[in-house]
């Protein structure tokens, strides 16, 4: 345990960092029994009680045995469908849906006697066979975890653990060995594109910000993850906060910013807590502050909590919110790279993007660029949700097919039902039908079929889903979250929603479909920011692939799936 290696010494040089890492690694006994418990996402499913039961049970063991066992509270393991999950090292045994009552048996059999308990092991949905080895669980097997490398493995509240596993080596390399332009060139070679939604090349964003002469410059980490069903960024901020900070140090150095902000939604209290703690630790070690590792580079980070408006994920709205104003987007240009926070050059990157940076600088751009497909390189984290057996957080190389994502990692559809569609990219994304299951997932292929990569939300729908209802659900979200500034988004989304509600309620007319399409086109064409421009996507993609369901609602005056509620016609007829 890193606690054995007290370190209050400030790291003044890269050599100091290397020496500390060596000391930590030497002191680390890989053969010690470690029970890794997810204490972030799994808390919702009772991880607290499991952890407490473990501690209690272990405390009853003789001291000689006890000192060889450690409970490590980690970030999200990813496999949320199995929550609460634990993994036991070094035997590498995985248990899901653990209850406090299971703990005595786990301690006796697995911890003390290294024996698996089949009852608690993951069962292959096809064969029903238990799989006890974590690495053999299909959900983990097919992943390529680089952004998520530390999630579920180390205690996110321990800087020493982060350093022991190679943390801050990339930052040290960047600050001491590389020039800002060198870093940007490596980013270019890696092919990294923004993971927040639009997929803008990260190196270009950095280069534009670097080019600006005006000082000070700011770096903002966008942690305002707002898509329903998306929790990639949350996982990273909660489970590996130092990866975000390390990415920010490198980015700040590359663009010439000495101040960074992390904008986190206030609904993520654990993320805020872990980030704040991590920043504090990094300052104490001299990894933030003046003259980091003797490089002459000064950088510090402030965590700001957002009030949870979806639109604050839009960069200009986020900046306004950071400035203490209402989070309302403004027209671009000028882009934040030229005039952002307080009118100064500002670079805004998403959490996952920044967490990728230490990977690229640490392992080299080539390694990163070797993964992926087309102009989408590296890995992408997806949150799998909906009618899947294996919901959770996964990281896979770009270019994986939807089929692999949904059926291999996701374990297929619950209760053996038929796959109907997958909603990619949240309320700004679109529905993709079964005919595209073999589509390789990249920025470009998704946009061709009417969806977007977005931040990586994947919601799987089965045969029972009503596509009009799905469109209505997502549009209602966008309409409610519209900031109200521009006409098409403020009024247009609501009018589209009303038409959808009419159709859903059995009061639609066939020409309503055309009016929907016409309105959608204008809302997309004329809205001020991405929220409005993309809000029609769920409607347009469902009309494109499931028009017959719309027609059925209109012709039969009811929902063919029995999901949409009927409404009396006269409530719709009166204007106002």
């Amino acid at each position: 345990m890193p606690k054995n290696v007290p370190n209050t010494q400030k790291l003044n040089t890269r050599t100091d960092l290397n020496a500390l890492r060596n000391r930590l690694q030497t002191a680390y006994d890989p053969n010690k029994t470690r029970v890794r418990v997810c204490m972030t996402g799994c808390r919702a499913s009772g991880a607290d009680a499991v952890s407490a039961a473990l501690a209690k049970e272990i405390a009853r063991l003789p001291a000689a045995e006890r000192k060889n066992i450690e409970v490590v509270e980690t970030g999200c393991h990813g496999f949320c469908a199995q929550a609460p999950v634990i993994e036991i090292d070094p035997v590498s045994i995985f248990y899901g849906q653990v209850k406090p009552a299971d703990v005595p048996e786990i301690v006796q059999k697995t911890i003390l006697n290294k024996k698996p308990i089949n009852r608690l092991a993951y069962k292959d949905p096809a064969t029903g066979q238990p799989i006890t080895q974590a690495a053999e669980v299909p959900f983990y097997k097919a992943q390529e975890r680089s952004v998520l490398r530390n999630l579920g493995r180390v205690d996110p509240r321990s800087l020493d653990a982060y350093i022991r596993t190679g943390g801050y080596a990339a930052a040290a390399r960047a600050l001491i060995r590389l020039t800002p332009n060198g870093i940007i060139n490596e980013l270019e070679a890696s092919g990294l594109r923004g993971r927040g939604g639009a997929g803008f090349p990260t190196f270009l964003k950095w280069r534009l910000a670097r080019k600006e002469r005006s000082k000070p410059k700011y770096l903002i980490c966008n942690g305002d993850e707002g898509d329903p069903g998306a929790f990639m960024d949350r996982g990273v901020m909660e489970g590996d906060p130092h990866a975000v900070i390390e990415g920010m140090i490198i980015a700040g150095f590359a663009i010439g910013a000495s101040e960074g902000y992390i904008y986190v939604r206030a609904e993520y209290p654990i993320a805020v807590e872990h980030l704040t703690l991590a920043i504090d630790q990094a300052r104490k070690y001299g990894l933030l502050g003046q003259n980091i590792l003797g490089s002459g580079f000064d950088f510090d980070i402030t965590v700001k909590e957002g009030a949870g408006a979806f639109v604050c994920g839009e960069e200009t709205a986020l900046i306004a919110s950071l400035e203490g104003k209402r989070g309302t987007p403004r027209p671009r240009p000028p882009y934040p790279a030229v005039a952002g926070l307080w009118g100064q050059p500002t670079c805004i990157n998403n959490v996952e993007t920044l967490a990728n940076v230490p990977v690229i600088i640490g392992r080299g751009a080539d390694v990163y660029n070797d993964m992926g497909s087309g102009t989408s390189r590296g890995t992408k984290v997806f949150s799998l949700a909906g009618k899947l057996n294996n919901t959770g957080l996964v990281e896979v190389p770009m270019g994986i097919t939807l089929r692999e994502l949904i059926f291999d990692l996701g374990g297929g559809i619950i209760d053996g039902k038929e796959f109907k569609a997958v909603q990619m990219g949240g309320p700004s994304g679109g529905c993709i039908p079964a005919e595209f299951l073999d589509l390789s997932v990249t920025y470009d292929t998704l946009s061709k079929v009417g969806a977007i990569m977005g931040s990586g939300g994947v919601i799987v729908l089965d045969e029972t889903a009503c596509m009009v209802d799905i469109a209505r659900y997502f549009l209602a979200f966008s309409a409610a979250e519209s900031c109200g500034k521009c006409t098409p988004c403020r009024v247009g989304t609501t009018r589209m929603l009303e038409i959808l509600e009419r159709i859903a309620g059995g009061n639609g007319k066939i020409e309503d479909i055309d009016l929907l399409i016409e309105t959608a086109a204008v809302v997309r064409d004329t809205s001020l920011c991405g929220l409005g421009q993309n809000a029609p996507n769920p409607v347009l993609s469902t009309i494109r692939y499931f028009r017959d369901e719309y027609v059925a609602h209109i012709e039969h005056k009811k929902c063919p799936h029995g999901i949409c509620k009927r409404r009396p016609a006269n409530r719709e007829a009166n204007r106002g």
């Binding site: 209402r326 403004r330 006409t487 609501t494 004329t526 007829a573």
Partner: protein, 359 residues
């Protein structure tokens, strides 16, 4: 490195235009005498791109790209802007339809009728009705302050009033409230204006393109389009703001200011904009008065002038010209002050003439 030139050259509907760097496409179009419709853009306010009526196309940008808001997008050299393509016009018409779908159709009694940008644009784009049927925002009309009527049902959320309050008056009383379809542009928590820091300058009213903000003292007393407009100089403090009197022959119905007026550029204070009521006050003196038996009673001009001349003559004869004092007025015109001192000096023969400059 070559210095960036101070001007940019672009094409608006194939017409070449040169304009200063930093100017918007809208300004360039204005220079090319092309009118791009808008509700939110205003010469003294930072472009917000809120109304989306000014959308245009850039040649070479495919249909996959969103349209460009001409008000907020800086003109760049080499741009080829198309302001009235089918796509842009169709978009504007639909945006107008959306606006009209949440707007009362009471133009018949609206103060702004004939002076309303939404009405003008609906006419120009022939949007007679909206195909959208749905809920409408309902708010009571707010008359709870001395000068400003706020009818939020007519608000098109152009945000001009808020900007005028923030950027021109530095009062920051008005901002967005709520979100989505329920968004309002109003005082914090929609509180009555007298409970805010509002100084009742009425700048918000002056920039409102529709009938959402109107002057309370002028209600139903005449629409701007029907009134005579006289540009003159404010009678209050010494700054000398230009004001426009809107009159119906006998009454001042309202006071406005031109955005291009030299001193105040459209700004006025509460007195300048709303302090005209004294002119048509029933307490005005309408006939000369002469004191008879201790009472002031109406008299003819002939009587009154004769009485004044006689009174002054008598004093002069009895005590000399320096026993007479003249107070001229800093509220009167130059011409009148000139005549007053001329009369005192050359007519009566005294330098006892002063005005209240010192007070």
């Amino acid at each position: 490195m070559a210095r960036k030139s101070d001007t940019v050259s672009l094409f608006i509907n194939d017409v070449p235009v040169k304009i200063h760097r930093g100017a918007s496409i809208m300004e360039a179009a204005h220079k090319a005498k092309v009118d791009i419709p808008h509700l939110c853009n205003h010469r003294h306010l930072t472009p917000t791109g809120a109304c989306r009526l000014c959308v245009v196309e850039l040649e070479g940008e495919g249909p996959g790209r969103p349209l460009i808001a001409a008000c907020a997008r800086p003109a760049e050299s080499g741009m080829r802007v198309l302001t009235h393509t089918d796509r842009a016009v169709a978009a504007r018409r639909l945006v107008l339809e959306l606006l009209l779908s949440d707007h009362p159709g009471d133009c018949l009694t609206c103060e702004q009728s004939g002076h309303c940008k939404l009405q003008d644009l609906a006419y120009e784009y022939q949007v007679a009705d909206s195909r959208f049927r749905g809920r409408r925002n309902r708010y009571p009309i707010d008359t709870a302050n001395p000068f400003i009527v706020r009818d939020f049902e007519k608000c098109v959320k152009c945000y001009r009033c808020a900007q005028a309050c923030q950027e021109l008056q530095f009062c920051e009383v008005i901002d967005y409230m709520g979100r989505g379809f329920d968004t309002m542009v109003t005082s914090a928590l929609n509180r009555p204006l007298p409970e805010t820091e509002c100084v009742q300058c009425g700048r918000c009213v002056s920039v409102c393109p529709v009938g959402a903000l109107t002057e309370k003292p002028s209600r139903y007393r005449g629409r701007s389009k029907d009134l005579k407009k006289t540009v003159t100089t404010c009678p209050y403090c010494g700054v000398g703001c230009a004001i426009v009197l809107e009159t119906d022959g006998q009454h001042i119905v309202r006071v406005t200011s031109r955005e291009d007026s030299p001193v105040n550029k459209g700004d006025l204070c509460v007195k300048g904009r709303f302090g005209y009521g004294f002119v048509n006050s029933p307490d005005r003196l309408i006939t000369p008065l002469i004191r008879k038996d201790g009472e002031l009673v109406p008299a003819s001009w002939n009587e009154a002038i004769a009485a004044v001349a006689a009174g002054l003559k008598r004093t002069k004869q009895e005590y000399g010209a320096d026993a007479i004092g003249f107070l001229s007025s800093s509220k009167c015109t130059n011409e009148e002050n000139y005549l007053m001192q001329k009369f005192a000096r050359a007519g009566v023969g005294t330098n006892n003439i002063d005005n209240c400059a010192r007070l």
